[in-house]
Symmetry: C2
Subunit: 343 residues, 2 copies
Amino acid sequence: MEERVTIRELARRSGVSVGTVSRALNGYADVRPETRERIMRLASELDYTPAAAARSLVTQRSHVIGVFMETGEGHPDLQHPFFHEVLGGLKQRVGREGFDLLLFASERPGGGYGPHDYLKRARHHNVDGCALIGLDPDDDEVRRLVRGEIPCVAIDMQLEGPRTEVVMSDNEAGAAAAVRHLHELGHRRIATVTGMIDSRPGVDRLRGYRAAIQALGLAYRDEYVRYGDFYAESAREQTAQLLALDEPPTAIFAAADMMAIGAIRAAAEAGVRVPEQLSIVGFDDIQLAPHVNPPLTTLRQDKLGLGAAAGDALVARIAGDPDRPSLRTLPVELVVRGSTAAP
Amino acid sequence: MEERVTIRELARRSGVSVGTVSRALNGYADVRPETRERIMRLASELDYTPAAAARSLVTQRSHVIGVFMETGEGHPDLQHPFFHEVLGGLKQRVGREGFDLLLFASERPGGGYGPHDYLKRARHHNVDGCALIGLDPDDDEVRRLVRGEIPCVAIDMQLEGPRTEVVMSDNEAGAAAAVRHLHELGHRRIATVTGMIDSRPGVDRLRGYRAAIQALGLAYRDEYVRYGDFYAESAREQTAQLLALDEPPTAIFAAADMMAIGAIRAAAEAGVRVPEQLSIVGFDDIQLAPHVNPPLTTLRQDKLGLGAAAGDALVARIAGDPDRPSLRTLPVELVVRGSTAAP
DNA sequence: ACGGTTTCCGAAACCGTTTTTGGAGATGGA
DNA sequence: TCCATCTCCAAAAACGGTTTCGGAAACCGT
């Protein structure tokens, strides 16, 4: 076990003081070029690696972004492909600015606090900022966190705090675009199966559906809106019921691609062909969307863009940028493939 | 900006020394019960949060596991659903033991080192262990890392080091099971489209295919093995070529579900029906496997299990467990659904 | 030769913990 | 009563950096 090479060691070997070494390495002005050069060469020879802990202790900055993302059995979020991709976007963006990501996982942290004690965990690790993904916005602990002193960004959840920003897709506009697309194809009996209705994206997509139905002068029918939960199975069930109606819809707007896939499945089981007898449009444009049968017409969310926007928000707020919006919404794009056609 | 409450503050307020506070909070023996009680109450009243950095500085442990996972354009790994799920399993498992996950992202870390300087980054943050996911096992920096003093676990990549362990599915057995299944259904002309052939899982699955073909006494045909890259598009192309053969196969083993989906697509485009005219079996059992049309027969990898096994390996090695295997392989399970049938 | 600036660097305080060492007082045994 | 043993705690030394403060040389102009 060779000894760790510290800044003191560098000082000793190069015959200067530790303060000087620190200033040399960090590019301060007041150190003679040749001294700096000597120190830096020595550092790289000895493979000197600064200790983040020591630095963070004195500077009170960590260059780390904390990420809260539930993964329990009840919250299979890391399973949901959507969140990964935004995590990827976030990672890329903040990485470029020199930050790493701390994925909170510990269920019995040192301080002896509960699994939901977000603020405490964030403080414990001295993170410079936090990203909240797929949390319950009504959780008291979440509220405490965003009310605190740490810059936060919330993805797909409505939340407010003095230093927090929320980013999400323009779900309402997207949903409206979906039904307009269907309408243009000639559909008049357009149903929807919604996402979880206690989530912001869930209600916004429903709202967009309603608004568009109304704007197009179509009759709004209660039995045409069915409630799901963003996952395939719920859509499959609801679609089956829709198909069994006296006057079944000729098109369905599913609030997520996973649900669109469930809907296609239900259609197949009921012997109705997609898109000939039933058009289906999804939401998200997950990676598999082009590969399912038939390829999905859907609203593309810019997942990497969401992550990147979140990253932007964080680095800006960490840098102290005073005037930031409290909400940032990204456009979605209709991509039409094979799951929709004229009735 | 209220002041951070430190251990010194607790000491002052409760009239004891900082050492005593530390021992009280950490559950050491030599402190009178009533003193401990008083201190702990005070701590929770003041919402005391220990500073991880300070602790890590002196104990040389961080309770953090570093995760290296490439996410560049060329390495869309975070996009590949498979890796997420094992990440989820890892997170759960190590979380239970009190660890958090540090997802390395920084492209210009403080030490001034390159993006691939894995060992340096790990040391910089003083992680207790590292998980390597989807990296290039031939990368020199990766090799340096696993040769170092930090416990490592590699997922789906062949690697060796004094304190490193690799975990992966039993790809060879799985592939063999796939062709046996096809054989039992009555197929004799069985093709495969492989994964990236420079990856361990890629070659193992091909090896399993070959072994089974041979063991079953089937003729091995060169034109029946086509090379792909784990993604849908490659499988689609290769399958199209397979279907255009003079004597096309009646069944295909695709080395990944994404590829199976690509194959189904190609079949649809060629007007051949699955499974009536062509059976297809995938590998992975991704979340969408049951929802595609037809539902995929596939080899289920226990992704959460892989993550958990990786976590086990890390916590054991961190705890100093001396006798650990250098390779751990997990069984895969054949799950038959709708994409295979008798020819 | 001398006061005033610069330039470069050393000394030391500090960040918030853990852990070792040792000592005061209480307790026990003889 | 006296020495040995416990029990509980205080003091202080780490851990590895950053940053402030000030001073010694070197430089300048006069």
